[in-house]
Structures are given as C-alpha cells and as structure tokens.
C-alpha cells in the first residue's frame, strides 16, 4: 500500500510546488504555465496531441524493433565468426565516437522529412547499446556450460542456440531496457531537425507561437509514453528470463558457477 502511496504523494507534492511557484512569481503563461493550465490544454488539445503522439510512438517502436533485431543479429554474427569480429569490432567502437545527433541533418538529407529518417535515428541510437550488451552476454557464457554441452555431443550451432543464447538473455534484457530509454530521444531529435508531424515537431511549433502550455502538454504526453514503453519492455524482459525472478537465493541469480 505504501509503495503505491509514495509515488502519488511525490507527484502531488511536485505539482503543488509547481503551482505555488507560478502563483508566487506571477510568471506570465508564455514563460511558465501552471499545472492546471497545462492540464486544461491537454484536455482541449487531446485529439491534436494524440495525432502527433501516434506518429512519434510509431517511430520509436519501429526504431526499437529494427535496432534490437539488428543488434541481436550483429552480436550473434560477431560471436560466430572470429574473423568478422576482428574486423568489425574496432569499426563499431570507433563509430560510437560520432554523436548520433550530429548525424540527424545528414539523415534528413538522405532519407527525407518523413518517418524514415526518424526511425533511422532511433535505430542508430539503440543499435550500439543492444549489440554491446548482447555481445557481452554471449561472450560470458560460463565455460562449464559449454564444456558440459561438448561432452553431451553438442555442435557449435547447438551450443550457440541452446546454451549461449539463453544464457545471454538477461544481458539482452538489459540492452532492451537501455534501448527503451534512449529510443524516444532519437525520435524526438529527429523530429526537431526536420518534420511536419510528431510530438517533437509539435513542441517546436508551439514554442515558436508562444503556446508554452501546449509545449508542456506535449512534453507530458511524451513522458507518459516513455514511461509506459520502459515498463512494457521491462515486463517483456522479465518474461524472457523467468528463472531470474523465481530465484530464492542470491547465489543462483544468473551468476557464473
């Protein structure tokens, strides 16, 4: 019961202090709108907000799907082919020195102002963390498991699919969680740089017309969306690794024997 009351209490407290600041400083509504005003705008402009939120959500989800899929495939390839690993791993690491945001204008140029460039942004920003997490997970399979599989007559393919892959699922789950928290950044930055729909576009547009209340409402929708995304991914990751939740002692929690 307490665990439910605490977040509600914190939220109410923050909203109250927000409203208090607005009252006390008498800030104009185009600098800092109060929570009540933002809430009103949220309800008034709900259809508009949802229309743009839908676009952003689609970009984020597509980006996550592509980024996580490509990341998993890359990690599996890197583990399977040693030669590929020696050539590709340094390239991957160096490529991380280029900030993905700096690529946004180039992506607009190449892929246009539509959804494609935003999906590409989200994919790119997710790809590396997922690949790194999966690769580490696949590489750190306890040797004992692999030796046992060898004495049981398992070939390399079987070892990869039946031992290494399930053993790496907890790491893949962590990669997905990171992906869920950075994917919205990729999509929104993409929209800022150039688009005609999406929450990022709506925020810039509202800002230019001094509709700060609408901007805050869009921000609120974005935050709720990101939270929902994170918790859904967290749920999926836990479903993927049921043995981690059931474990009663800390000794057996996904450690290496």
């Amino acid at each position: 019961m307490m665990s439910l009351l605490r977040p509600i209490g914190i939220t109410l407290g923050l909203l109250l202090s927000w409203q208090l600041i607005v009252w006390l400083t008498d800030a104009p509504r185009f600098i800092l709108p109060g929570p009540l005003l933002v809430f009103n705008t949220l309800i008034d402009q709900f259809p508009l907000l949802m229309k743009h939120a839908g676009v952003t959500l689609a970009e984020i989800l597509l980006g996550m799907l592509l980024g996580a899929g490509l990341g998993l495939i890359s990690a599996l390839s890197l583990i399977t082919w040693g030669r590929l690993r020696r050539w590709l791993l340094p390239v991957l690491v160096i490529s991380q020195a280029i900030p993905v945001f700096a690529l946004a204008p180039v992506l607009m140029l190449w892929l246009g102002y539509g959804m494609t460039s935003k999906v590409a942004m989200a994919t790119l920003i997710i790809y590396f963390p997922v690949t790194a997490a999966c690769f580490d997970g696949l590489r750190q399979t306890p040797t004992g498991y692999l030796q046992l599989a060898r004495t049981l007559g398992a070939g390399r393919r079987t070892q990869l699919l039946q031992i290494r892959l399930p053993a790496a699922l907890p790491a893949f789950g962590s990669g997905l969680r990171v992906a869920a928290s950075v994917a919205p950044i990729g999509a929104v930055v993409g929209e800022w740089v150039g688009s005609s729909t999406g929450l990022g576009y709506l925020m810039l547009h509202a800002n230019a017309r001094m509709q700060v209340d609408l901007m805050f409402a869009a921000l609120l929708v974005l935050a709720v969306m990101a939270l929902a995304l994170y918790f859904s991914v967290n749920l999926i990751a836990r479903r993927l690794t049921p043995w981690l939740n059931e474990s009663t002692s800390s000794v057996t929690r996904g450690d290496t024997p």
Binding site: T151, A154, L169
Partner: protein, 244 residues
C-alpha cells in the same frame, strides 16, 4: 570395457606438471585419483572427457573394444552446471535435447524414473534455483546417469556440499553407479576410500601415479570401518608429506 590412457603429459606455463603418465581403468570398476590441487588431476580427467585444452595436455586413449572413446563419456563436475532456464526434468534430459531432434516419451519416462531414484521425483517441474545445493547435485547425478555412457568421469563431485549431505550423496552414487566404469577425482581420502575399488595417488613434481591401493569389502564402506580409518590416516600422511 577397459580404458587405457598412455603417455599423457601436461605442460603449464612452460613447466612440466607430469609426463609419460599411464592410467588403466578396468571395466566395471570405480577408480579414484587422489591428489592435491594443482597436480593436474582435473586436466587428466578433462583429457578423457575430450574437453581439455589441447595445447597443454596430450595423451593417447585406447578402449578395449577398439572404438574411440570420444562421445562415450559422461562428465560430472564439482559445480552442478544445471542450466537455470530449464526445469529439473529438462536438465536431466539435456543430453537428448542437445542431440537435436525431439525427446521421446520413453526418454521422458526414463528421466522421471532417474529423478525418483535420486529422491526428487516430485520436483521434476521446479527450476534449479528453487533447489538446495544437495538437491541440485542429485539432479546432476541423474543427468549423468541419463547419458548412460560406458565411462563416467567425476571431478570432485561432492566437494561443494556440507559433510552430511556429502555422505548421503556418496551412498546414493555408490548405489546408482554400481558395476559401472567410473573415474573419480578427489582430494578427500575418506571419499575415495568409501567409494572406490582402486585408489591411485597422484603426487610429486613432476607428478607420478602410485600403485593402486585396493581396499577390501563392499562399497560404500562405513565411515567407522577400521580399515578405512587406517588407510585414511596413511593417505593423509602421504599427501601431507608432500606438502611440507
């Protein structure tokens, strides 16, 4: 089936741990190798299991039936090595699962029977994390038995358990592995004396195998057996003498 290992040699960091070692495992007997840590006994066992680091250890293996030994050894390690994402039953069936193809109902039946034999018949659907250390090692024993290979290699299989659980598991292992060809590596003289038909001591630098010690009587021998106690003292002195 008798198994013979000839001219085994192990090099570790440019230093010879042992060379020209010969070992015979008579069919249907339980042989134990007793030795301290670092004497190369685990590497010897891994060589027989086909999982040794081939750059470090070499040796030739002969079986009395003329066939190669590879793929005919069941390995049981100090850790239970149960896969946490599989149920207890699926862990026992691991050999069949990894061989590819589907697991037949006969095999499932056999695995369940083995779980009953290790007194875990009612935990078939539990996950390894829900079991105690002794229960997990019993599942590992069932998995080893399920493989039904001509040679069973055990690498300090009970050393991670507490004393009472260890004694019980030794009795269980002696019962279930009777009349099989077993090689067990251990550093516990009492364990070797309770379970083995033949005991070899690996000691010295470079290490050599002693002549077999053959205790009388049926296994598992009682812990208060005069002969067992006497031999235990002798073996301990022998091993301690090397350490000093």
């Amino acid at each position: 089936m008798d198994i013979r290992l000839e001219q085994a040699s192990l090099h570790w960091q440019h230093h010879c741990v042992f060379s020209d070692l010969n070992l015979t495992l008579p069919g249907g007997q339980w042989t134990s190798i007793l030795g301290q840590s670092g004497v190369g006994k685990s590497s010897l066992l891994q060589l027989l299991c086909g999982i040794a680091d081939e750059a470090a250890i070499t040796g030739q293996i002969f079986c009395s039936d003329g066939q190669p030994l590879a793929g005919r050894v069941a390995w049981m390690a100090q850790q239970d090595l149960l896969l946490p994402w599989l149920s207890v039953l699926d862990n026992v069936l691991l050999g069949a699962r990894l061989q590819g193809g589907t697991v037949g109902s006969e095999q499932v039946e056999q695995a369940r029977h083995l779980l009953v034999q290790v007194e875990l018949g009612n935990r078939a659907n539990a996950r390894p994390a829900q079991l105690s250390g002794g229960q997990r090692q019993r599942v590992a024993l069932a998995r080893t038995l399920f493989q039904d290979q001509p040679l069973v290699c055990m690498d300090e299989p009970f050393s991670a358990l507490d004393a009472i659980t260890r004694l019980k598991l030794q009795d269980l292992a002696a019962e279930l592995l009777a009349d099989r060809t077993v090689l067990m590596i251990t550093h516990d003289p009492l364990e070797a004396l309770r379970l083995s038909d033949r005991i070899l001591v690996l000691r010295g630098a470079p290490a050599r195998l002693s002549d077999p010690i053959i205790p009388a009587g049926q296994t598992p021998r009682a812990i208060h057996d005069q002969q067992v106690l006497q031999l235990q003292a002798q073996l301990l002195e022998l091993l301690a003498g090397e350490a000093s």
